[in-house]
């Protein structure tokens, strides 16, 4: 099929799909008019029932906790898939890099980038931990906080070198963080089974709404997901960087 024919076929199909979509969308409630009832019910009862002031967090990690476990394992499987795809394949050999301009002087990372990058690492780690630990109170949670934590590793790479990134996040640590995080979610779920109720039932003490130690199983689940997401994203980052970089340790000549 030629590209032109494919484009024409797509435009015909898209016109039909577009009309069907418009037809369906006009049947939705008017924008800004919410018919409920689930959102209204949850907004009404979630704070009293689960002592979590972030109702989105309560839905994600408690009411829909089993779904989020599935989502967590999608993330786990995707990171695993990337790691398997990008590790050296059986028929691959590592070629020394083609140096197009051997006498080229690659510019050093500027001092401004290094200083600002390193200065940001501390605040970014703190902000990531804050997002993970306050997921049941304010916007945030394990997914968002985990990504912010992984950003700290990216800052280390930007302001240093790949070797530095590997030193602050050795493969063993990132692998462990990812798998321990994934397993901890199930472990928290099993607390409910151990207590004789149901898997992922909120059996821990609920405390008072608005307090750091409240909302039962939601903070531990956020911590588990934060650990997994941070580990997983640093792993993704390292795998992709390894594809593009020639890694030389100081003093090593190729």
């Amino acid at each position: 099929m030629t590209p032109a024919l494919r484009r024409r076929m797509f435009l015909v199909a898209a016109a039909v799909a577009g009309l069907l979509l418009l037809w369906g969308l006009t049947g939705l409630p008017d924008y800004g008019v919410y018919n409920g009832p689930y959102g209204d019910v949850l907004n009404e009862v979630a704070v009293a029932e689960r002592k979590a002031t972030n109702v989105v967090g309560a839905v994600t990690f408690d009411y829909r906790g089993v779904d989020t476990m599935g989502e967590e394992y999608i993330l786990f499987a995707a990171v695993l898939g990337v790691a398997i795809l990008l590790r050296a394949q059986r028929d691959e050999t590592e070629n020394p890099p083609d140096e197009d301009a051997a006498d080229r002087n690659a510019p050093q990372t500027s001092n401004a980038v290094r200083v600002i990058g390193l200065a940001l690492v501390g605040p970014v780690v703190l902000f990531g931990l804050y997002l993970v630990l306050h997921g049941h109170l304010t916007p945030g949670g394990g997914f968002q906080g985990g990504v912010v934590l992984a950003t700290a590793a990216l800052l280390v790479y930007l302001s240093g070198e790949y070797v530095t990134l590997r030193r602050v996040s050795p493969e063993l640590v990132t692998d462990l963080a990812e798998s321990v995080g994934a397993a901890s979610y199930v472990a928290v779920g099993l607390l409910g089974v151990a207590a004789g109720t149901a898997f992922l039932d909120n059996v821990l003490p609920l405390g008072q709404p608005g307090e750091l130690l409240s909302a039962g199983i939601i903070p531990p689940i956020n911590a588990a997901i934060g650990l997994e997401v941070a580990g997983g994203f640093v792993l993704l980052l390292s795998e992709f960087l390894e594809q593009t970089l020639v890694i030389r340790r100081p003093g090593e000549v190729t």
Binding site: P3, R6, R7, F10, L11, A14, A17, G18, L21, L22, L25, T26, L28, P29, D30, Y31, G32, V33, Y34, G36, Y38, G39, D40, L42, N43, E44, A46, V47, A48, T53, N54, V55, V56, A58, V59, T60, R64, D67, T68, E71, I74, L75, A78, V79, G81, V82, L85, L86, Q89, E92, T138, P139, G141, F143, P209, G210, L236, E239, F240, Q243
Partner: protein, 114 residues
Amino acid sequence: MRFFPYIVAAWLMLVGLYGIATSRNLVHAITCLSVAQSSTYILLLSVGFERGGTAPIFLDVPVGTKAVDPVVGALTLTDVVVGATVSALLLALAVQAYKHHGSLDPEHFRRHQD
């Protein structure tokens, strides 16, 4: 304006699919998939939006304040996470495709097989 956000969602979906169908570069196709997927965020959040509603977070405002639907917020969170991981996996496949074929152009792969 009653349907405007829904029309934006439909447009993003179709324009993303158009990009995938006509793409000459796998990285571009993966970006187009992200565009198509972002239509689902807009659709979900628009369905749950209530005029005058605040975020469903009751730390500073009392329970009973009019707030938007938290369920679609949670669904969108899932959507974003799955979207990011799918992109990562597809980009890894694109890296391998480039290694094997020396190109990111899907047309090139077909010629390569013949």
